[in-house]
Amino acid sequence: MSEAAGRRAGGPTGRRGSAAQRSRVMTLVGALIIVTAGPPARRPVEAQEPPGKVIYDRWCAGCHGEDGAGRGEAAAFMLPPPRDFTRGAYQIRTTASGELPTDADIRRVVDEGMPGTAMPGWRARLSEQERADVVAYIKSFSRFFGGAAPEPLSLGRAPGASAEGIEEGARVYRELECFKCHGNAGRGDGPSAPTLTDDWDHPIRAANLAEGWTFNGGGEVEQIYTRLRTGLDGTPMPSFSDAVEGGVITEEQLWRVAQYVRSLSPNRPPVREVIRAVRVEGTLPSGPADSAWGAIEPAFIPLVGQIVIKPRWFAPRVDGLWVRAAHDGTSLALLVSWSDPSSSPDSAWQEWLDRMAVAMTDVDGSVPTTQGPDRLHVQFPLRREEGMERPYFLGGDTRRPTYQWQWTSAPETVAEGRATGLGAFTPAAAGVTHTAGFADGQWRVQFTRALVPADTTAAPAFPVGEAIPIAFLAADGSNGEDAARAAVSAWYAIYLDVPTPAGVYAIPVVAALLTAGLGGLAIARAQRRTTRT
């Protein structure tokens, strides 16, 4: 299962371990919260019951409902909501739009889960036979199954990938107007994106094509091409098979679109436990648009909905941050960039917010219908702690406060100060400066601050050569996010590189000379011996 799969539902654990481990733990916790949100009690198996029913009632009904209509007890906490099986409309298929999925199509989703949603994969938990039984049982919820077995489309093979091919794919992407929903850079910020709904009138996001690991049907070229040909039934994503069959574009051109979309994401998000602040000679990057940032590898920090303090938030917009850092021995520069389709408030997104308010209002009271700003909080422990103690990850508490940079989009400003919990914040300037930019569905905010602040009681110093705890919070004001409704990270660390002493460069040279010299000596001796005998 994808590391991002549980982001909607998972709660930060704050446990130690590798980033991947932690991510998996978060995913599992998320899955279990949902799965165990109200499993029906075990009942004696009646003789006539189909074998899949027992499995389904135990593991699936909590979300999908005992009647398969997608209204299980945990469903109110989910967006996208669990599938309603009664209509027989499935997103991830190998068949034409409007056709039923094959058994293998349903089985794939049961096995692998749906990345980017609360649906986990079940391969590890259920046996081969149990998964086959549950597929058969799921089909029984819809009266559309039972006829001839659906035929998968014949999709051919991808042409060889090349830079020119990707360029051609980008051209066809514009020509087919994919940007209308997915945006110019693919971040799901097109002009139609705020208006999108699924077949059940829930707000639905245009996929963020820059995060291929969140694609419901998988992020590989063949999988993307299949979605282009079949569409995702039940969603706004149409099939482009008619365009191919009608000669509007060639099959190869559609493959090129798939290759282009694939090229917008890395293989996997570069999740790192430690963000490395590179030591630079000369000046630090001057702002988020500085090309010098291009040379610094980003770390991806996954975020999940804040579900500890009420109002909890199960539908966060921001699912991760890209973080780059550099220092020059005097100051630290931190660049945080993330996908957000709107610079909030944005009147075009009011329609989206109104739908979000309806969809999520049952959870913990009314979702605000007035758009707030977008927000990013970066937090550090206010004081250096002994050992591994860190403040509470949600802003700390009075015993262990945090030092935060709280950035907002409207007014576009950053507040610096001390926090003792979520929403408990006292401004105290310590010299942080910032520059923010928004373009093509992405915020880029650079913070810069002296490593040693003037007043070390108001803000911590950033020592080089130490892992400094760091954590984040992000919120999209157009998505109904305010105060505690936000996406948060667990604690990560930032490490400021120690400047390399000149001696480090001399050691290999000395070693090489020494080795060569000793070698030469040994050879000379051996030769002398040979001559004697």
Partner: protein
């Protein structure tokens, strides 16, 4: 306001190519049920229901459409484009789908060969309301030089969602189960809505801009009718076709 409506109506009429086989004319009905398919489908009789749909009071304002993302569509409307949800002219209501719900022999009624068309033109559907007999094919064409997707969201039938990124593309689709109505929408242009009435028989019609409709090809007798409007709801009525082969009926909607 009324003037805006008439202007809209005019624009729509032009956009529909003069209302050829569409634009609020009776779809499956007419003088005979589905005149184009008469050779294969014999009507039950020669009587005709003549009806009118009235609207009393001031019609609700239709929502404005922000077409700024599609200048080529916006240019087709003088001033602000609006979504023609409630089309009232001279106290008569258009786009009401009327069908016979009782009084007919059990059938079955074969599907006519003629294919009604929904055109996507000026980022609106023409006609907005259309009827087909279950099993009769429907053609959906794109006259706009931009991307539309056609998404049908039925419950009794299978849905579909296909893109038409070019002008001139055509999709043929057949709904096999009776379903009143099947919503059709475009995800790119969230305001675009059309409704397909899939009926087990050919005795249905859509009220025209003057509110009138005719359902022909029926023998004398008493028939139950249901009128459907997308935002104003349904109404039921009854009509008797006498020995002279004529029956009249009126439905009245209003703001109350």
């Amino acid at each position: 306001m009324r003037r805006t409506w008439m202007a809209m109506g005019l624009v729509l009429t032009i956009a529909c190519g003069g209302g050829e086989g569409a634009g609020g004319e009776s779809a499956g009905g007419g003088e005979t049920p589905d005149a184009g398919a008469q050779a294969s489908v014999a009507p039950l009789g020669t009587g005709t229901i003549s009806g009118v749909v009235m609207f009393e009071g001031a019609p609700p304002a239709n929502p404005a459409i922000d077409m700024s993302e599609e200048p080529s569509c916006a240019a087709r409307y003088s001033g602000q484009a609006t979504d023609p949800v409630v089309m009232v002219s001279g106290g008569r209501l258009a786009n009401v789908f009327v069908r016979v719900t009782g009084g007919l022999p059990a059938g079955p009624y074969p599907a006519p060969a003629r294919k009604p068309t929904i055109d996507q033109a000026g980022c609106l559907y023409h006609p907005r309301v259309v009827g087909v007999v279950a099993g009769q094919s429907l053609e959906i064409v794109n006259s706009d030089s931009l991307l539309h997707n056609i998404k049908a969201v039925p419950t009794a039938n299978r849905g579909f969602n296909v893109s038409q990124p070019r002008a001139g593309m055509m999709r043929e689709h057949t709904f096999t189960e009776p379903e009143v109505m099947v919503p059709v929408e475009c995800s790119v242009h969230g305001w675009m809505k059309a409704y397909v009435g899939v009926v087990a028989h050919p005795y249905f019609a859509t009220s025209a801009e003057d509110g009138t409709f005719t359902i022909g090809g029926l023998p004398p007798g008493t028939y139950q009718l249901e009128a459907w409007h997308e935002s104003l709801g349904t109404k039921t009525g009854e009509v008797t076709i006498g020995a002279d082969g004529a029956g009249t009926v009126a439905f009245t909607y209003g703001t109350m």
